[in-house]
Symmetry: C2
DNA sequence: CTCATGCGTAAGCCTTGGCTTACAGTAAGT
DNA sequence: ACTTACTGTAAGCCAAGGCTTACGCATGAG
């Protein structure tokens, strides 16, 4: 239902870098931005997109804001991938059994 | 190694529509373009991108050209997804065991 | 050999979206 | 209260890329 948004969000390299930086554990925006070749506001924008895709969850800690990985977005992507895989395989087998590919 | 290309390619909705149309079996370019809201050359361009991402394979049949799904691209995407999943989960557990998240 | 069919490619247009700088807001410390 | 730290948002710029029209090429049919 939302795997398309997940794909769109993960397509950008910088955003993927932001996302992968959270793989090591929860971090603040400044910590994420440190080391990345873009400005901090850019990171904020990416985090917003990731959040809307259910890939990330945030929580305030003092004046800072801690982001961490949130699974649901990846679950949907994985579900789509698996479904696609199974369907394509089923149709392939169906055609292969008839002859070669139906012609 | 190329999961990034796979993500980029699959991010576009039209291109995904092209790809999903191949799920039902091999088809010619004209057959794919029929029913889609874009021109046939546009479909050709999408197919080229899909081919370069190892998501599709083509084969000439007379003056036509038959495209079909080719697995490797999806395999790489799935591998990345699984790896990411495992790593994130491992780090999450490591932090959870220490207390909550290490602060 | 000529014509028709089915594709791929080039050039150009135009929208999308990622980045930066500047600004506004909230919470903690003194 | 005032200042400092950390972040989200707005406006604007600019490159990336998806779409169309026009063209060129190969294969099969007659």
């Amino acid at each position: 239902m939302a795997y398309d948004k997940t794909l769109t969000v993960l397509a950008d390299p910088t955003r993927r870098a932001v996302f992968e930086r959270l793989k090591g554990g929860p971090r603040s925006v400044a910590e994420i931005a440190a080391g990345l070749p873009v400005s901090r506001p850019a990171v904020s924008q990416h985090l917003k997109a990731l959040k809307e895709a259910d890939l990330v969850r945030d929580e305030p800690r003092g004046t800072a804001r801690i982001y961490r990985i949130h699974a649901p977005g990846l679950v949907e992507l994985r579900a789509w991938l698996d479904g696609f895989w199974d369907e394509a395989l089923a149709n392939f087998k169906a055609h292969a059994e008839k002859d070669d590919d139906g012609r």
